[in-house]
Symmetry: C2
């Protein structure tokens, strides 16, 4: 069984905060159906990248937003003019993520400011993992997430943009299906599925920026692994590389 | 807390099977941490569309695969020649879904056959919902899922292609963030996030085609609703409409 819950009581983070130290007290209060409390071996801690950005001082003045988007743009993938004359740009950012406004976001930030994504989300995830391991005596998986649109589909969903100790891709190739036929093509984006599951309990309006997923220990690895960067498809395999 | 589990013991379905009738005995055995058993009010039953296709007789001979893909192609979105000379086509199918090979699939089917998607997955979901409601005395949400690739990202993830009684899009616009700022743009693709969460316990190799999600009752609606078809972005809002 997969269990997912988001602890209340995480304060607003500010520049210079140690993310693991700030979220640990709330994580320590998590109560599980088997009577255990806190973080356990094999748990995955899923953290909205927004609070990590705040701790890392990635807040800028809103008047600098367009400059920030430009500086975070490696490649423009699509653009559309809105009825009010403003332009929506879908771009690839330095992390290889294709996102609206390069991931520069104005929600859940103080009025007059916008937030950039963490500069190195995989590095942030590794650092937070070390901090949680030191406090809890277990090495959880850590994911940093952001909310992203998807071509051709309505609505947005959370994806993993940073990872430590999580098998972000679960390779089923070489396994067999229920007919004994070998699976040849299936690599699941497990980290994105974990991010999506966590979003269902975190929510944007609720002030619950962290969730813990229990029951996916098969995806938690001893070493930190290659991180969420390995979820970015290399350009030579990208069938949708229309931008310049 | 969100709880997700996949009951064992669902037999292989064949043409003419009543999906609700076949999966109900396994669902009835689900044991929950609070001591309850079976399906409860507010649960979402997430079903791999593959078993619905089988029940609906959507199996065809593998030699007819290319013809089937062509017949299921409304619009070609991208294509690439593989090293062996075969061609990978990403196309829009009659359901509005943009998928590799139009969603025509050869895994978890008897050797020599391939499966088409259900012809009307929202209709199938509504029918299964009625069947489960009649057996359990509660009206669960029902999702039919398939596995899909994503542009720019490695790996595949499950999405919702059929829905009944589930708010497939969760509109957070009008809510406020933790700073009191009104959320203006956020509509979550909740049905896709539920599909992703369910995939983490279902798996392809494990023979567990159904999962139940408990703890997302806010997304379960009394009426069947508009279905997963409403997750398909209308062409006029599609910024990635490069095909012909």
């Amino acid at each position: 069984m997969l269990l997912v819950q988001a602890p209340p009581g995480i304060p607003v983070l500010t520049r210079g905060d140690d993310v693991a130290a700030v979220i640990a007290p709330a994580l320590a209060t998590l109560a599980w159906p088997d009577g255990s409390v806190g973080l356990g071996a094999g748990d995955v801690v899923v953290i909205s990248s927004k609070i990590v950005s705040k701790a890392e001082g990635r807040m800028i003045a809103a008047r600098d937003r367009e400059d920030a988007i430009s500086s975070q743009t490696v490649r423009e993938v699509a653009r559309r003019e809105r009825p009010d004359g403003s332009v929506l740009r879908i771009v690839e950012n330095p992390l290889g993520l294709v996102m609206a406004a390069a991931g520069v976001d104005a929600s859940n930030t103080p009025p007059g400011t916008v937030l950039l994504l963490p500069e190195d989300p995989d590095g942030s995830a590794r650092r937070i993992r070390r901090g949680l391991a030191a406090r809890f005596g277990v090495r959880p998986g850590v994911l940093l997430t952001d909310t992203s649109g998807r071509p051709w589909r309505e609505g947005v969903a959370d994806i993993a943009i940073g990872a430590a100790g999580v098998a972000v891709l679960e390779d089923l190739r070489g396994g067999v299906d229920s007919y004994g036929t070998r699976l040849t093509a299936t690599v699941m984006a497990s980290a994105d599925e974990l991010a999506a599951a966590a979003e269902l309990v975190k929510g944007k309006a609720a002030g619950l920026p962290v969730a813990v997923v229990r029951g996916a220990a098969r995806l938690v690895t001893d070493d930190d692994g290659p991180g969420a960067r390995s979820l970015v498809r290399p350009p030579e395999e990208d069938m949708f590389r229309h931008g310049t």
